[in-house]
Amino acid sequence: MPSMFTVALKEFSDIMKGKRFIVLVIVFGLLLTVAIASVYLTVMQNINIPGIAMPRGFLGRAAYTLIAMMSYFAPIIGLALGFDAISGEKEKGTLKIVLAQPVYRDIVVNGKFLAALLATSLAILVASIANIGGAVFILGVTPTGEEVARLVLFIVFSILFAMTYYSIAVLLSTISKRTTQSMIIGVVLWAIFTFVIPIIASLVAFTVRPIRIGQNIQNMTREEMQQLMEEMRSRTVITEAINSFTPNYHFGRIAQYILNVYTGMAIGPRNSTEVRSISIMEGLTSAWPNILVLVLVTAIAFIASYMIFMRQEIR
């Protein structure tokens, strides 16, 4: 009985041989790394506020570029591998040939998922290593053993994040009549999650909690100061509530917890020189709900495409 591995093997070698994959890994994995790293370095050199603690250690300095790179790279690799998974084979007519063989339909979806998981892991590994290597080279700091463990976890959750987008893309590809349609919806959805919702979130936050005119931090009373903090907090709550509708937000949270750069509540007294540090276990515990959301979205999108595909007319 031929299994999903037969399909997975073919799909994986297709992905590896295809231009799409190589181009993405090079463009995003390497170019994005360079671009973000250079922006980051400029910022690091020019910002030096006395009294504010500067991030320390390898991760303290490199995590920003890593997270920024991955929050673009992972969704795009997921979309790129998934948008034509089903619709492409329907359009080309290859699906009919495959399904006329003694196989159950599910090996097609499962095999593709497995191949995408492998390819995504590989791509993210390559991109991460490029990024980390670049950072080591530029910053001249090497990660400690604990930081390496954090980086490994980060890579694992980046793969999960990419697979979330992959599953969404496969779902779109299953329900779309055409691949172009699936691709357009995929890209629009990505743009909504990546740019539109965060913008709306802060617009809403600032509308609900507007900045009061005439504030001058220098001559604020202690009460006014506290009120200001309170406003900022509630804006954060609103923004996060809205952003939590995007997978990107959850990935961001996981990454921050895991890489120990969580800054959401780090706004403390001005004289604070401590950057809050959390252990890996603490990080995982705090990130747990976000991890669960990504796993659920991935599973639901996958199961939905699976169920639709199993009973779908294939022409």
Binding site: T6, D14, G93, T94, Q101
Partner: protein, 319 residues
């Protein structure tokens, strides 16, 4: 009797927002093993839909069917193990070579790695594509792809072959090669089903036909029997070629009871009769001292059959 294909009130209804299409309508077919079965019908008759139901690519709305004795819904996996299908339309993986495409299909049929290469070579040779096995299918012409499609259907060494529009896109040479192939496969004892609206190209191969229109069966049966039935119903057409006093011959033949019409067509005589009157004609000619050069029954062609039943189907539809 063991049937290759049998259907019982098999029906497929496609529903969409705007309309409902009854693509296959209560179809009852029974095709014995070992035949070359032609499924004939105009565009949109439901041929492809029927084939897709038979091979488990789509589920029937109602009714049931068996292929090689297996239930088309519950045992479709076994069916696909033993049935080679050339779908219409279909495609291959453009970025893979002809050989790679076929090796993948072979793998999906659980053909062992060692066996695969051999089978692939066999079927590629059979369709005349072995020379181009290392070329990417993306660069193949339509006819080459069609040949590869035929090769693909053969790879599992199937008991039953179903070809949907097999000669679409083939050049005359390709079509001839295909007809020969069907002949060989049939000799090997395989059952072959050919679905087409192109009567000339594959029609002559068939010894069993079913004509469908708008999802409904119009007629099915052995071609031999249908032809004889048509001759009985519509009369025999006999063509005579003789030398000498042809006009007297015509007058004499016209006197036969069963002959309804005799006329001259070029240098031959066409007789319409409700019985095979060849021996009578021969006797008359002999008695008149004429030399008969040829004396043949003109059998209705598949096209005649098709036109007769198809027209009748249309009439029934509108009545």
């Amino acid at each position: 009797m063991s049937y290759a294909i049998e259907t019982y009130d098999l029906t497929k209804i496609y529903k969409s927002e705007e309309k409902t299409v009854v693509a296959v309508d209560s179809l009852n077919l029974n095709v014995e093993k070992g035949l070359v079965f032609g499924l004939l019908g105009p565009n949109g008759a439901g041929k492809t839909t029927l084939i897709m139901m038979l091979t488990g690519l789509t589920l029937p709305t109602s009714g049931s069917g068996k292929v090689l004795g297996y239930d088309i819904v519950k045992e479709s996996l076994q069916i696909r193990r033993k049935v080679g299908l050339l779908p219409d339309p279909f495609g291959f993986y453009d970025h893979l070579t002809a050989e790679q495409n076929l090796e993948y299909i072979a793998a999906l049929n659980d053909i062992s790695k060692a066996e695969r290469k051999k089978r692939v070579k066999e079927v590629l040779t059979a369709v005349g594509l072995y020379e181009v096995k290392d070329r990417k299918v993306g660069g193949f012409s339509r006819g080459m792809k069609q040949r590869l499609g035929i090769a693909q259907a053969l790879i599992k060494d199937p008991e039953l072959l179903i070809f949907d529009e097999p000669t679409a896109g083939l050049d005359p040479e390709g079509a001839r090669a295909f007809r020969e192939q069907v002949g060989r496969l049939s000799k090997e004892g395989k059952t072959i089903m050919l679905s087409t609206h192109l009567l000339f190209e594959v029609g002559p191969l068939c010894n069993y036909i079913a004509i469908i229109d708008r999802g409904k069966l119009i007629v099915q049966g052995r071609v031999r029997e249908l032809v004889e039935k048509m001759m009985v119903e519509e009369g025999y057409r006999i063509r005579v070629k003789a030398t000498g006093d042809v006009q007297t011959l015509i007058t004499n033949i016209a006197q036969l009871n069963e002959v309804s019409e005799v006329k001259r067509e070029g240098d031959t005589i066409l007789i319409k009769a409700n019985r095979d009157v060849r021996s009578d004609v021969n006797k008359i000619a002999l008695s008149l001292g004429l030399e008969v050069l040829s004396l043949q029954i003109e059998e209705p062609t598949l096209e005649d059959l098709f036109m007769k039943y198809y027209r009748r189907g249309e009439v029934a539809e509108h009545a």
